[in-house]
């Protein structure tokens, strides 16, 4: 079955929901890719997203893997990239042109101040959605809290901590 049109629709739609970051779209990403289209399972989605945190560059590049699986190969991956980054890129480009003119517009500050808490809320909601699949017991909760506390108190590269999570994972979750 040709998944290309569905991939374009889903990822162009998700694109517009990423206010404040990719995680804002995570609950919807889960619903559409896991439950509606069944391109992958929830654990697979969590795994890809988390591994993506160790990759350099924009942090939603894991969508490439979904496109590649769903449509089989490079075409799917490219389609997903264009669908996901195209709409917001065009929007950002238009705004880049017009924003200066809006400098005196009083609502500009209102929009920025108003969207700040909503985008934080969406990020948190995405985090909870992911936590339902990722935090499965005391050990995983301890890893998450540990990473949170370390990042709040020390200036350390988060990618290293995610890598550290892999090491702790191997040490603690390997079947004996």
């Amino acid at each position: 079955m040709n998944q290309i049109p569905a991939l374009i629709r889903v990822f162009a739609y998700l694109s517009l929901l990423t206010v404040g970051g990719g995680m804002a779209a995570f609950p919807e990403l889960k619903t559409l890719t896991v439950e509606v289209h069944k391109w992958l399972t929830f654990p697979q989605l969590i795994h890809l997203y988390s591994v993506g945190q160790m990759a350099p560059g924009p942090n939603m590049m894991m969508i490439v893997a979904i496109g590649q699986w769903a449509a089989g190969g490079l075409l799917g991956a490219l389609i997903v990239l264009i669908a996901f980054f195209g709409p917001t890129a065009v929007l950002a480009f238009i705004v880049a042109r017009g924003w200066k003119k809006l400098e005196k517009w009083p609502w500009r500050t209102s929009i920025q101040e108003g969207l700040a808490p909503v985008s934080i809320g969406l990020l948190l909601a995405g985090c909870f959605t992911m936590a339902k699949g990722a935090i499965t017991g005391v050990e995983t909760a301890a890893i998450a809290v540990g990473v949170l506390l370390i990042l709040l108190h020390y200036k350390i590269n988060p990618a290293l901590l995610v890598l550290g999570g892999a090491v702790i994972g191997v040490l603690s979750f390997m079947p004996k």
């Binding site: 206010v19 970051g21 924009p58 893997a65 991956a77 950002a92």
Partner: protein, 203 residues
């Protein structure tokens, strides 16, 4: 391809700082490619180091301004910044060069990871490692929530909007779009322009 001075999108306004004009399309692509390949653990500090400190293509004030625009638009900060900076330096072609550059390394890497994961994803040691990785990623996102709350909230009441958003998505299952519109409008109205106009709107 380099030195694309024939780009009609660049109107060279007289107010533009002279340094910005020196970036060629090839330089923009290369610089964003390097950022895309090296920015482990979050793109923003690397963007600043490269564009402001190393290249001097934009100054610090412009950087902060562009970042605040990037954050209030849909789209990832990293790719929105690429579009904004690319646009400023070389118009539409600059934007395209920048976003392809910043996305390419991570996309290639995740493509390979996707293939590898599909074949080997259910090996016991990989499953075990990924369980730890996913838990660590949750901690990382929570720390982003905390640092964003410290930086970009403009009052205690904003926590109400954060709570409303989380409840709407996770408890009421309204979906992200409806939540975004409903709570977003509410929050924007709450922060509506007041009579006494504060000069310099962005903090």
């Amino acid at each position: 391809m380099s030195n694309a001075a024939l780009n009609p999108a660049v109107e060279s306004p007289p107010a533009a700082p002279p340094v910005a004009a020196q970036a060629s399309i090839a330089q923009i692509f290369l610089e964003f490619l390097i950022i895309g390949a090296t920015s482990f653990g979050g793109v923003v500090p690397y963007l600043r180091g490269s564009l402001v400190t190393k290249r001097g293509w934009i100054n610090d004030k412009e950087f902060v301004e562009m970042l605040s625009i990037s954050q209030s638009l849909p789209g990832l900060n990293a790719t929105n910044m690429a579009i904004l900076v690319g646009e400023k330096l070389r118009g539409a072609v600059g934007s395209i060069a920048a976003i392809i550059g910043i996305c390419l390394p991570g996309a290639v890497l995740m493509y390979i990871v996707g293939i590898f994961y599909r074949i080997h994803g259910d090996h016991v040691w990989i499953t075990a490692a990924l369980k730890g990785v996913a838990a660590a990623a949750v901690g990382l996102i929570l720390s982003t929530v905390v640092s964003m709350s410290k930086k970009s909230l403009s009052g205690k009441f904003d926590f109400v909007f954060i709570a409303l958003t989380v409840i709407a998505v996770n408890r009421l299952h309204l979906g992200v779009p409806r939540t975004l519109i409903a709570v977003g409008l509410l929050a924007i109205l709450f922060h509506r322009p007041r009579k006494q106009q504060k000069e310099s709107g962005t903090q």
